[in-house]
Symmetry: C2
C-alpha cells in the first residue's frame, strides 16, 4: 500500500466528481483519479431538456460552476488536484490486487490504476425496448450531452415538425415542453392510463393531463407502440401503436432507465432485489474497499424501510459526499430517500414524495387520504393561484406515507415541508404547529399545508368522514341512492357543476333553514368548490341529528370526471 491514499473513481458525472472533490478537500494528499468513458464530465444531466429548448445555449453552461467556471479535465487538475482520464473505459477490476484495468479509446492503450479505495459511480442507462425500427435515424434517447447535441444539431430546424414522445414520465414531460418551445407538433404515447402514472394518483395526474391538453399536446394514453416506421433513406416517418399511427420527424424514447451494473456484476459485487448495486448505510458495497453511489445503486425508502430504485441527480450528489466522508474515516450514514420528484409542465407544477395511494394500498397500509385544493397565497391578491395537496397518511402511526401537490401556484414550497416532516419521523399532524413564514404575498394566514394537516387530524379523530371523488363516482356508477348536496351559491352552480340527478343545490347559508328538504334516512354527501363548506355542511347536519353523512374530498375542483356549465342545461 502506497503511503498516500489512492482513490479511483469510475464515472465523471454527479456522484463521482462530488466524492473526488470532497476527498481531496478532506485529505489533501490523497491521490485521486477519475475514469470517465465519455469526453465530458461533471455536467448537469437534468439540464439537458433546457439545452434542447435552447434556454441553455451552450453545453459549457451545463458544466460550469455557479460562478461560471467550466469543470473540464484541466479544471479538475488545476483547481481540484484530481487526475481525470476521459475517453477511458474500465475493462475489469482485480479486487484481490486492488487494480482497475482500463483502455484508453483514442490511443488503444491499456492502463492500470491501483487503488486503496474504489468508487463506482457508473450511473444508469436508458431502457431500449425491443421495438422494430428503433434504430432508424431520428429516433432518440436522452441521457448524455451527446444525446442532446444529436437532437439539437442533427434534426435541422424543428419548427412545425412532428415529434412523437414515447413515455409520459418525467423525462418525456420535460422534453415535451422543450419541443413545444421549438414549435413542434407533439404526440405523447404512454402505455399507462395517466401521465406520470408511476408517480401520481389519478386525481392529481388528471390536472397535469389537462395542462398538456390545453397546450395542444396529442396525448395517447393506454396505447402501446408496436412499430416505428421509416423511409428508404432510413429516416423515421411515423410511430404505430395498437390503436393508431402518428407522423414523426423525430421520436424520443423515454421509458425509464436501469442501473448500470455490468461492471459490478462482473466483479461479483452483491446486487440488490431492485436490480441495482446493493450498498450499506455508508454507501459501501459487499467489498469493503469499494463504494458505490448515484444512479447505479439502490436506496432505502424512508417510508417503507425497503430497497427502492429512485435515480435522481440530487441523491447522487448526496451519495458522493457520504462516500467521501467514509473513505476519509468519518462515520457518515446515508439514511435513505423519500422518492421526491418535481416537474414543471408549461404553467403547471407537480411534485410528489413517498408512496402513491395505489402503492400504499398494494403494500397493505391502513391509510386515510386528504385532498385540499386552495389558493397558494392570500386569496385577496390577484397573484393567488390554486394548488391541490393530497396526503396519504398511515392510520396506525399518524405518519405521512406520501404527498402529491399540483397546481399553477407554489407547489415546491409545500412539498419541501412535507419532505422535511416525513424525514424527521414526526407525525404529519405536527405540521399544524409549524411556525411557517406568513405574509399575504407568500401564503394564506393558515398555509395550505397546515390546513391539510388539520384535515388529517379531523379525519383521524373521526370528525370529518368523507369520500374521495373516486369513491363517489363508483357509488354513482353502481346506482347507489344518495343526496349529492352541492352547498355552493347559485352563481357558482351556474358556472360549473357536476351533472347527476342525485345533485341537490342548497347554499350553505340556507342549509340550517332547509332541513325539511333533507330526509334523515338517506345518505347525504355534501360538497362545494373545495369542500371547506362541504365539511361545514357535514358538521351542521351531524349537529341536527343526521348520521349518514360524508362530505366529498376536494369538491368540484378535484372532481376529475365530466363537469358541465349549468347554463347549458
Amino acid at each position: 500500500m502506497s503511503s498516500k491514499h489512492r482513490v479511483v473513481v469510475v464515472g465523471g458525472v454527479a456522484c463521482g466528481p462530488k466524492a473526488a472533490a470532497r476527498i481531496k478537500r478532506l485529505k489533501p494528499d490523497a491521490e485521486i483519479t477519475i475514469i470517465e468513458k465519455g469526453e465530458l464530465l461533471s455536467y448537469a444531466g437534468c439540464g439537458l431538456p433546457f439545452y434542447i429548448s435552447g434556454e441553455v445555449y451552450s453545453h459549457n453552461q451545463l458544466m460550469a460552476t455557479p460562478t461560471g467556471v467550466v469543470r473540464d479535465t484541466h479544471f479538475f487538475k488545476a483547481v481540484k488536484g484530481i487526475e481525470v482520464k476521459n475517453h477511458t473505459l474500465v475493462k475489469c477490476v482485480d479486487r484481490e490486487k486492488k487494480i482497475v484495468n482500463a483502455i484508453q479509446f483514442e490511443t488503444g492503450e491499456t492502463v492500470s490504476f491501483p487503488y486503496d479505495s474504489l468508487v463506482l459511480a457508473v450511473g444508469s442507462k436508458y431502457q431500449k425496448p425491443p421495438i422494430e425500427g428503433i434504430d432508424l435515424k431520428g429516433v432518440n434517447f436522452l441521457q448524455t450531452i451527446e444525446d442532446a447535441r444529436k437532437i439539437r444539431n442533427e434534426s435541422g430546424p424543428l419548427q412545425d415538425r412532428n415529434a412523437v414522445i414515447i413515455g409520459a414520465g418525467l423525462i418525456g414531460i420535460e422534453v415535451t415542453e422543450a419541443f413545444k418551445r421549438k414549435g413542434m407538433n407533439i404526440t405523447i404515447v404512454e402505455r399507462l392510463d395517466t401521465v406520470l402514472g408511476e408517480l401520481l394518483d389519478p386525481e392529481i395526474a388528471y390536472h397535469a393531463h389537462n395542462e398538456l391538453v390545453a397546450n395542444h399536446i396529442n396525448l395517447r394514453l393506454g396505447e402501446s407502440v408496436t412499430r416505428i416506421n421509416g423511409d428508404d433513406r432510413g429516416d423515421v416517418t411515423s410511430v404505430t401503436t395498437d390503436k393508431g399511427e402518428y407522423p414523426a420527424d423525430i421520436v424520443l424514447i423515454a421509458v425509464g432507465v436501469k442501473p448500470n451494473t455490468r461492471l459490478a456484476k462482473e466483479m461479483g459485487l452483491e446486487i440488490g432485489e431492485t436490480g441495482a448495486i446493493k450498498v450499506d448505510e455508508h454507501m459501501r458495497t459487499s467489498d469493503p474497499h469499494i463504494y458505490a453511489g448515484g444512479d447505479c445503486v439502490e436506496n432505502i425508502s424512508l417510508v417503507t424501510g425497503k430497497p427502492m430504485y429512485a435515480p435522481m441527480g440530487s441523491t447522487a450528489n448526496k451519495h458522493g459526499r457520504v462516500i467521501a466522508d467514509n473513505i476519509c474515516g468519518m462515520n457518515t450514514r446515508f439514511k435513505g430517500v423519500a422518492g421526491t420528484a418535481i416537474c414543471k409542465l408549461f404553467n403547471f407544477n407537480v411534485a410528489r414524495t413517498g408512496l402513491t395511494e395505489k402503492a400504499a394500498k398494494k403494500l397493505g397500509y391502513d391509510y386515510i387520504t386528504v385532498l385540499n385544493p386552495s389558493p397558494d397565497r392570500a386569496h385577496f391578491l390577484k397573484e393567488a393561484k390554486l394548488i391541490i395537496i393530497k396526503f396519504i397518511v398511515d392510520k396506525k402511526t399518524g405518519k405521512l406515507l406520501g404527498a402529491q401537490i399540483a397546481g399553477q401556484g407554489d407547489v415546491a414550497k409545500r412539498m419541501e415541508v412535507a419532505v422535511a416532516n416525513l424525514t424527521s419521523g414526526a407525525k404529519v399532524t405536527d405540521i399544524g404547529q409549524y411556525d411557517l413564514a406568513y405574509a399575504p404575498p407568500f401564503s394564506p394566514a393558515i398555509d395550505n399545508i397546515i390546513t391539510t394537516a388539520y384535515i388529517v387530524e379531523n379525519k383521524l379523530n373521526g370528525i370529518a368522514p368523507s369520500y374521495t371523488p373516486m369513491e363517489v363516482k363508483e357509488k354513482m356508477d353502481k346506482g347507489d341512492d344518495f343526496i349529492f348536496l352541492d352547498v355552493r351559491s347559485p352563481e357558482e352552480y351556474e358556472e360549473i357543476r357536476i351533472d347527476d340527478p342525485r345533485v341537490k343545490l342548497i347554499p350553505l347559508g340556507k342549509l340550517r333553514n332547509s332541513l325539511g328538504d333533507l330526509p334523515k334516512d338517506k345518505e347525504i354527501i355534501p360538497f362545494c368548490k373545495i369542500s371547506l363548506r362541504g365539511y361545514e355542511a357535514e358538521r351542521i347536519l351531524f349537529g341536527e341529528g343526521y348520521s349518514n353523512v360524508r362530505f366529498m374530498d376536494g369538491g368540484v375542483v378535484c372532481w376529475p370526471y365530466e363537469k358541465v356549465s349549468g347554463l347549458k342545461m
Copy 2:
C-alpha cells in the same frame, strides 16, 4: 349551568372567529357569542397594506373566504350558527358568576352574557410614542380596516405627495411599497442603524437596505423623531428628527404594537414577563374557565423555551384552533413559536426565524454562523436569482438557533425547511439528508439549504474555519496584517472588488502553482464571489502546510461595506 355549553368570545378578528367556528363544528349545540367593538370582523389584518395600495379594491375582499363569501354578522349567524354582537364593548367580567358585562355603542344598552367558557382574543394596539404633533391631521397608524380606509379616503390623491414613515419594521416596510405604488415620495425614519433591525442581522439587513435605496426611498437610519409639524389648519407638514426635517403630507407611525391587556388586568388574570397575557400549553389563562389567544398573549419560544411576544396572524389562527379543541374536551397543546416572519420589498424577499446572531450572543449561546449566497435554481437557467442564507447554530446541541434568508429568488421555500427542521427538534445537519424536490426550474441539484447544512457540518467538524465579513472588517480597522486572498478570476476582479492594500489576487486555478508568493508565517484570508472557491483555497493551503488560514464567509457578495470597480483604479 345551562345544559348547553355557553361560550363567549371577545374579539372578532383571527383567533376569536376561528375558535368560535371550530367549537361550533365540534360541538354543534354550543351557544356561542362573539363580542366585537368594531363593525367589521374576521378580516385579514395583514392585507391592509394591499388595500392601501389598491391591489385589494374593496375591504370586502379582506373579509371574504377563499371562495369569495363575505364573513359578516349575517354570515356568522346563517352559516356558522354563531351570534355576533358588534359595536359592543366589554365593560367588565364577573369571574365568580361567570358573566360578561358589555355596552352596545349605538343603543347605549348594557348587555350581560353568561358563559361556561370565555375566550379573550382582544388583540394588540399600536404604540403611540409621546411626540409633539402626533394628533395632527394626516398622521396615521395602521391596524384596522378603519385606519386603512382613513389613509385611502381622507388623504386625497397620493401621487407625488410626500410620506414620512416612522419605523422600518415589517408594517413600515410593507406600507412603503404600497405608498410607492401610489407614486409617493417616501422618507423612512428609523431609530435603529438598520432596517428591520429587530429581525435581521446587519449583513442581511444591508441587502434589504440596498433594495429600498434602489427604489428611491429616502432612508434615514439612526435618527429619532423629535416633533411632527403642522400648519394653521392642523394638517401635517413635516417631521423633524435629531438630524433633519422631512416634508410630509402624510405620516405613518409604525413603531410596533403592544398586547391589549386592559381587560385581563382588570379581571386579575396573570400577565407574563413580556407584558402580554400568560397562558399555558392549552391556551388557558390563570382562570381555568378563561382562554386567551392571538396578539394579546405571549408565546413560548421553541428556541429558548422562554416567553416571547411575537404577534402574528398565522399564530393567532393556530391559537383559535387549540382553544376550541380544549373547550370541547380535546387535549390539544400549542407548543410555541419560532418567531418566523417574511416580507416582500419590491423585488426582494426577506425571511427570518428564531434568534438573530445579536440575540444569540446576548443570551450567551456558544454558536457558529454560516453565510451562503448562491443561485436559487439551476445556475444555467436565466431565471436563477441569488439568495443568501444565514444560519446561527448552537455548537453544543447542533440545533438551529436562527435563520435569515434574503434575495430576489425563492426565499420562502428555504425558510419553511428551516422552520420545519427547527420545530422537529432535529439537528440542523439533518437537512443535508432531506430528499428535497429537485428539478432545474426549482432548485440547484444540491439545494441552497442543503449546502448550508453541509457548511454547518464542515464548521462543526473544524474543517472550515472562517471569519464573518464583520470580523474581517474589524481586523482591517484595527490595522491587522494579513493577506486578503481574492481567488476569483481577473475579470471578476475588474468588475467589482474590495479595495484594501491587503488584497492579493491569485485565481484559484493558479493557486497550486503560486505558493511561492504566499508566506507561511502570515495569516491568509481567502475569499471569492460567494466563498465556495474561498473554502476550496483554504483546503488547498492547509494541504500544503499552511496553518494560519481562515476563509471569509459569503465572499464579495456578502461584503456589506464599500466595494469598488477595479477599472476605476
